[in-house]
Subunit: 592 residues, 2 copies
């Protein structure tokens, strides 16, 4: 750490460059320039730099580092001439602090374990990778704010994070209060508040909202995370979509190219049928193809069996050049994965160099059927097809998972499948409003949340056949990741009460304040939330959301730097009227 | 709630007004104008408005309200002509939702209890008062962001709110984790993180930070609140002050006039001596005057007694026109208050219409002494002087409190003392670094927090006489309210360890990560935090910070709308390994 008062030394002189309209990093301090700023145009000027000593050699020269870059500083001796247009000749230099041996060097190419990086997070933050990610994040959010507030009249409203447990809010952290037995809850989103703001006539709300979710140990999830939270009155689905497209276009960082709007849109049914998921990665093909009709006439037992059920279906994906890029072990693991995760058998068909098919199936298929299959799947020589028969949703989900696994395998083997600089946004719409509960399919649960409005065309079905009702929910997908979701909300108290009490069989009492609010002239309204951590991690191409969060928790929810969570004394628990129920073995251990 | 498709009706035609560079409130929706927008220039245009029906009369006309204003809508009958330049002739109108009888009318002049307003907060939010406050708050914060990010290169970094208990953090809420006995803590400020960001080379950090403080029931405090949190590397006290002055000037709302910079500055000692507080209200005079020297020669026992002590002092304030504006009861209550709050006797001196003094003291004072007293206090006919003798700090504190109480009494009685539109900012500097602990004056505690750096001139005193060390802490005061505070921090690990271990006798182990960080080349750094809720409440002249928070808690920390905190079931506590320790009487009640 040094503060050299320095003189820029001339190698050759050049005209002063035009100053860019950048922020002034040197206001309020005695610094004249950052370490990334000096150019030939500054030759001859006196400058004051602050930074960390990155290298130094025998008291002859040193390289000073800050968040913007590196500058070489000569400690005047003889007239030595290193490379580079500029070097700074030290007039005075002051050491402001010393530095003990670092646990790892601040260089991007030095490999270090994530646990070590998280323990010394303040050192990892000095890396150009994290500096870039955090500064880009700040910049993107600022431009989002400008778009929403300055251009479109949104009001940034802060909503409480100490609230009460929502029904079924099993993933909400609790905060004991000083009233015995009473707890606050840290909400998973400002959902209720944003709707109440619309009832309150705020018209257009947004917030960069801190949200909380206690999921125990989950890789790449954080107990606290951030969403861009938006709600508007008198808006429809298309309006929200245009808003978000404009928002992303406006805030997109220049160094990541530009994005094209409007984003394509796909129904939930289409996404499931073609990609086997509600968050399709549309950067590559290998779509799921329905071959039920091709095989319907064949004399294959499992095919006939599958098609005899109401939702029976035969589907397949075609892996381009699978013969070349996938090993037998790869194919085995793909089939194994479908079996273990989806209980789905997979049949394999290979297109030989001569164009003929190799498979256990071929002997049951006529030449016409084989040729129709090749055509339906657009099979080329060397391609591998994975085929599944069974219930529609199961078949699609299994093939969707295999599609992604094979893409990873192909890329690992050297096939350039997905453009790493491409950003494919996609709207997924027309979700079902309700799903049957996994544990008891005769009961229904909300596909998203109970405030989602039914699709206008399906309102009457709500009262006759709620399973058939599509919702006005929409998801925003980027490169196969869900980066946002929202809906038009129910604004009729009567409809909201019907959904809660009659369809979901829930006790509406805990939401009585919200239902009552709808009775007081609630405007039609809708909104969306973007997952900021995920979005930024995709923009900077980071492997984890932990790489775009300044002080992330480990996947066990621990802060490895400060050691949180931690034990507290029984006295500290007293004002909150709680005590620890030690698990039996720890209790025993304490006794002894 | 109605959506009328309407035709603006001509009363007289006018040229189209130039569009202001305001945000577009009508983007993405089918609205063409808000209800506050239509002017004579719009005559003849077709418009679509959305809003709430404020009045309606016999199906003849209605007044539509939204966040921007009111517009009169005529339901065409005959050619009726009400006042106003514009009325909208309804072509179609659609009722989007109905409204049951409101618990109170949405009119600012209707008085309602705060409990009722908080229970129906979403209705209170419709008031023009709250709409203005929340929208102004959003606008001010946006301009602060523009100033910090766009003009001065700050990085908006989000820091965790699930952290671990800080030593002595008795006011921190606890959050049980799934590890038995381990708790997160909701921090009172991002203090540690902001310093670690400087160690991490972020250079200039800011955040609109949610902070938490569990103080039980306190009027006009909130369990969660917001601060504008700032930290900079390589900065000194003057630099931070200029930054904040620029920030406030840049973000100051036009409708509240403008503010003058630089702000005046006062040392802690001066503030205490002249105003009896570290947050002087400098909008009016009535300063505390030292009359020790005037009275030193007098033969008054309590005066002589006070002056015989090392910190003994005789001080007074002069209440202008106190004879006219203060009743005997007022004067009695002022003296009573000094007695009960500060154990301080107060002597009263009245300046008669003829300029002579009336007081129990006068018979002990020579004419010269009386005249010197009149001069020192600048007494005019009809003024009332309150005089106190005793220990310096106690005398000043008591008179400081009386100064504010008398100002309120004078104003209540009709004297215009403080300009309600004036904003008097003030820096208070040179605080002591440590105070003796109230419960044990031989031990020291930090006046602010243990990371505050000593004043550069007093560093050597740290090791010899720490009570004499001034700090590099600074408070920002507005109209007698503390609206911000910060300091230059200790950046030497050795000095930080000395302060924690040797001066404060604290266990530095819990802060080992911070001290270790200082060892890794921490730059000199400092920062500040502005209390946003308080600042905005002063700007909009609201009686409470609850009036600038969308969903505030009651002074008991309760959300009266959603009923938080609330009971949870023992099953919900199970994953967190805690159980409620019911107070004895409630336990007994449960048994029976």
């Amino acid at each position: 750490m040094a503060l050299p008062r320095l003189l820029v030394r001339a190698l050759h002189r050049a005209a002063a460059a035009a100053a860019p309209a950048a922020p002034d990093f040197n206001s309020f301090v005695t610094r004249t320039n950052t370490c990334g700023e000096l150019r030939a145009a500054h030759v001859g000027q006196k400058v004051t730099l602050y930074g960390w000593v990155q290298y130094q050699r025998q008291g002859l020269f040193l390289v000073l580092r800050d968040f913007q870059g590196l500058t070489q500083v000569i400690i005047p001796q003889d007239e030595k001439m290193p490379t580079g247009d500029i070097e700074v000749k030290a007039e005075t230099a002051e050491i402001l602090n010393s530095c003990k041996k670092l646990p790892f060097e601040i260089k991007d190419f030095i490999k270090k374990s994530e646990a070590l990086r998280m323990q010394y997070r303040y050192l990892d933050l000095r890396s150009s990778r994290l500096q870039w990610a955090l500064r880009l994040r700040s910049r993107v959010v600022m431009r989002m704010r400008e778009y929403l507030c300055n251009l479109h009249g949104f009001v940034d409203v802060e909503t409480p994070t100490l609230f009460k447990r929502t029904p079924g809010g099993a993933k909400e952290f609790l905060v004991p209060s000083r009233e015995a037995g009473k707890f606050y809850s840290l909400p998973q989103s400002p959902q209720q508040f944003k709707q109440l703001l619309m009832v309150g006539g705020l018209d257009r709300y947004f917030q960069v909202a801190r949200c909380y979710r206690d999921e125990g140990s989950r890789p790449d999830r954080q107990p606290e995370f951030t969403q861009i939270d938006i709600e508007m009155s008198f808006i429809d689905q298309a309006g929200i979509q245009r808003l978000i497209e404009g928002l992303l276009q406006h805030s997109w960082p220049e160094e990541r190219g530009s994005i094209v709007t409007p984003f394509p849109s796909m129904t939930y049914e289409e996404a499931l049928a073609e990609y086997g998921t509600d968050k399709p990665d549309t950067r590559f093909g290998m779509k799921i193809v329905d071959v039920s009709e091709v095989l319907r006439g064949s004399n294959i037992h499992f095919v006939q069996n599958a098609l005899s059920y109401p939702h029976g279906s035969i589907r397949a994906i075609c892996i381009p050049q699978g013969v070349r890029y996938l090993t037998n072990k790869d194919l085995g693991s793909l089939k194994e994965s479908a079996k273990s995760q989806f209980n789905q058998e997979i049949m394999e068909i290979i297109c030989r160099p001569d164009g003929s098919l190799k498979s256990l199936l071929t002997k049951f298929l006529s030449e016409k059927e084989q040729s129709e299959l090749i055509q339906a799947l657009n099979m080329q020589e060397g391609d591998v097809v994975l085929l599944a028969a069974g219930e529609h949703k199961q078949v699609c989900s299994a093939l969707g998972a295999l599609r992604l696994l094979s893409a990873n395998l192909l890329e690992a083997a050297g096939l350039a499948l997905r453009d790493p600089t491409a950003f494919h946004f996609l709207w997924v719409v027309d979700f079902p409003l309700f799903f049957p509960k996994a544990e008891n399919p005769t009961e229904l649960e909300s596909a998203h949340h109970p405030f989602t409005a039914p699709h206008p065309s399906d309102v009457s079905l709500l009262y006759s056949d709620p399973t058939k009702v599509r919702s006005q929910h929409y998801d925003l997908v980027l490169n196969g990741n869900e980066v946002g979701g929202g809906s038009i909300r129910i604004h009729s108290a009567e409809q909201q009460r019907f959904v809660l009490e009659k369809v979901l069989k829930e006790d509406s009492e805990v939401l009585s304040h919200l239902i009552e609010a709808l009775e007081f002239g609630a405007p039609p309204h809708g909104g969306i939330a973007l997952g900021l951590d995920r979005l930024i991690s995709l923009i900077v191409d980071a492997p984890s959301i932990r790489d775009v969060i300044a002080f992330p928790k480990s996947f066990r929810g621990r802060d490895l730097m400060g050691n949180a969570p931690d034990y507290v004394t029984p006295e500290e628990l007293e004002p909150y009227h709680i005590q620890v129920s030690w698990p039996l073995e720890e209790k025993e251990a304490k006794k002894n």
